[in-house]
Symmetry: C2
């Protein structure tokens, strides 16, 4: 027999990146294709010590069913941290933990989006969350992306053109894949449009702590006077991804519904991994740890960008990100990056074609994403040598 | 502002049991209301040792992003275990891990159920999964439950009456809340009806290992020649619930879609907690551990049932479960157990009213659920003293 799939899942495919990984698994491949944080940034010994101590001395509470809302000490610690840093959660908000930043998007979509509702997304955007929206039957509408964030006129035009527009999805800092950061002026403009047209905003901020240059910007959630912004955060890049701990800040009544959605999804997030995040923040130098991570990545980021400036054909455009894990480069308008990426892979350097990050995968993209957190400095040098030559061949 | 919720979430409320817990939090309350496994069954020292060793010696692989399908050594171990025990997964099936047994239901509903599709459920059934189905906009239709499983005539009648019937949901062993186990004859009959009317089956088996008397029965999945049964398992009762590790066995093509749904939901389950389950199964005496758990619960189960037989009014009916964590008792037909339960709580013994487990919460239920895994033998004696008197007052 063959089963009949739900309508909402029709056309949702696995991540193209995942398929690409199979092509790039050969050991002599230099991979700029991944999106993983560097294991050098994981506080491994501290995590081992916390886990052991917690299980030996607080075993029952680590192992018995916990609260859907999350492990109370971690929730309290995160609340204090973000209140001090960004002024939220306010008294109108609540904060819960969840199973990685991805689940913040999943719960948001489940609670807010009917099938056919429109999510306005940065074009290009993170394929994982685009697929989350698709998996609830939402329609994705891309908004033109600029180095300082969404083009505001295009955003308003797309809102007007889509009466079922419900949610704006934005990665405000060092966006995946572009590396672009939305300026404060545009953050205010996006919030103002959300107010004017009564839309919700999902502000997905996994990279916010990873700033290597320039000033930290105010989250849109900090401007949220009427509870329309859902802020999603993650420990995946500040502690370790396989802990699967993230968090959500949202207005209290909305949060009650997100909690019910989470209860029906996975009951609660594993307690041991929440304890690890909690005690690392409470008992270790979390700020110092973040500075160490930034120092590690700043060097790699600069090397990748300097190499690209020096070695890539001037026909290739890109912007220097001030943080995060990625930079996206663009072939001349009208070129399809997919064949460029395939030729790179044939020469043993893997990148991700822009088609992985678009709303409509039938339209070619001239973009390709490069990751600098995983490769070594030598690999960055060698890989950009090869890609540099390729850009000159491609853009003769 | 107030947000507009998705249609699918309308009317999905949090678990009544959760609300009840707030009423029963006083320290002098004897609680038969919980559903937690006893912490005496958690292999705490072994878990601490595994976690510490894994993080110290395999840190990177414990902390870096893992596969959506699950941690490979755990998947392989589970495949061997269940192939030996139950003959699945077959070559047509695959097995993945997931974030607790609850997520097996969540992914199943996401991939299979359109809004308005009908899930046929045991009346009474586990509220957590009923809410999962509700949260995808499915319609729940209850099938009359008997001590040996669903009434087969009623199941067929309900299938015929509901052209959009899509899924049969069954907890085959020591069902929550009733404690009933579906007989082998009825398992075959349910599978035959699923074949005749082309329905899928979700076989949710968190209690299968917890048999204290009688013979282990064959899962429906073992009879599944055409890939219509999704089998969900869990480590919540055999290791510890807060690890949040479960697993799913399903036909390969369906599994591909469940994997995509999981990828959009939480990317993957925490690796450390999967490693704990894997190494406990591989390096410790898992079968011996299961025997220990059964020994602990068998005593409590027998005490609860003997006490009830001895102390409850003969007007109260119940069946002796041969395993699991629960027994449900029934007041005489037509009585509403909710006021009985409230009076019990006033006298400091908490149980859960049947209304928490019904399809239509506006219809009263004469059932109340009692848990025997958490209370001590003394608490079982004291609590049944009080409830026993109450049954005589109630059924004068």
């Amino acid at each position: 027999m063959s089963f009949t799939e739900s309508d909402r899942m029709h056309g949702v495919s696995g991540s193209i990146i995942r398929e690409l990984f199979k092509m790039t698994a050969s050991p002599d491949m230099i991979s700029f294709a991944g999106g993983n944080p560097s294991p050098d940034t994981f506080p491994m010994d501290e995590i081992a010590a916390i886990a052991n101590d917690a299980l030996l001395h607080r075993g029952t509470s680590m192992l018995q069913y916990g609260f859907t809302e999350g492990f109370p000490p971690l929730r309290e610690t995160l609340k204090s941290y973000y209140q001090k840093k960004h002024g939220f959660p306010t008294e109108n908000d609540d904060l819960i933990t969840c199973s990685g930043g991805q689940q913040a998007a999943d719960l948001t979509a489940k609670v807010l989006l009917n099938e056919g509702d429109v999510a306005l997304c940065e074009e290009l955007s993170f394929v994982g969350v685009l697929n989350t929206f698709r998996a609830y039957g939402a329609k994705l509408v891309g908004v033109r992306m600029e180095p300082d964030g969404m083009n505001i006129e295009d955003l308003e035009a797309k809102i007007k053109a889509n009466p079922r527009a419900k949610l704006i999805y934005i990665i405000p800092n060092f966006q995946n894949p572009t590396g672009f950061t939305t300026s404060e002026a545009k953050r205010k403009a996006i919030y103002a449009l959300a107010q004017r047209y009564d839309l919700m905003i999902l502000e997905d901020d996994p990279y916010g702590e990873l700033r290597y240059e320039g000033e930290f910007l105010t989250p849109i959630k900090s401007m949220d006077t009427d509870g329309r912004v859902i802020y999603g955060g993650s420990f995946s890049k500040t502690m370790a991804p396989a802990l699967r701990v993230g968090f959500i800040v949202a207005e209290k009544n909305l949060m009650k519904r997100l909690i019910v959605a989470k209860q029906t999804g996975d009951v609660h997030t594993a307690t041991l991994t929440q304890e690890i995040c909690y005690r690392y923040m409470a008992e270790h130098d979390f700020e110092g740890h973040l500075r160490d991570i930034r120092r590690i990545y700043a060097v790699k980021c600069k090397r990748m960008l300097d190499d690209m400036e020096q070695k890539f054909s001037p026909a290739i455009t890109f912007n220097r990100p001030q943080g995060g894990l990625f930079v996206t480069a663009f072939l001349p308008e009208g070129m399809d990056a997919w064949s460029f990426v395939q030729e790179g892979i044939a020469r043993k350097v893997a990148t991700v074609p822009g088609v992985a990050f678009v709303m409509d995968q039938s339209v070619p993209s001239n973009a390709f994403r490069m990751n600098f957190s995983m490769p070594s400095l030598d690999q960055i040098d060698q890989g950009t040598d090869i890609l540099g030559k390729l850009t000159y061949e491609w853009c003769k």
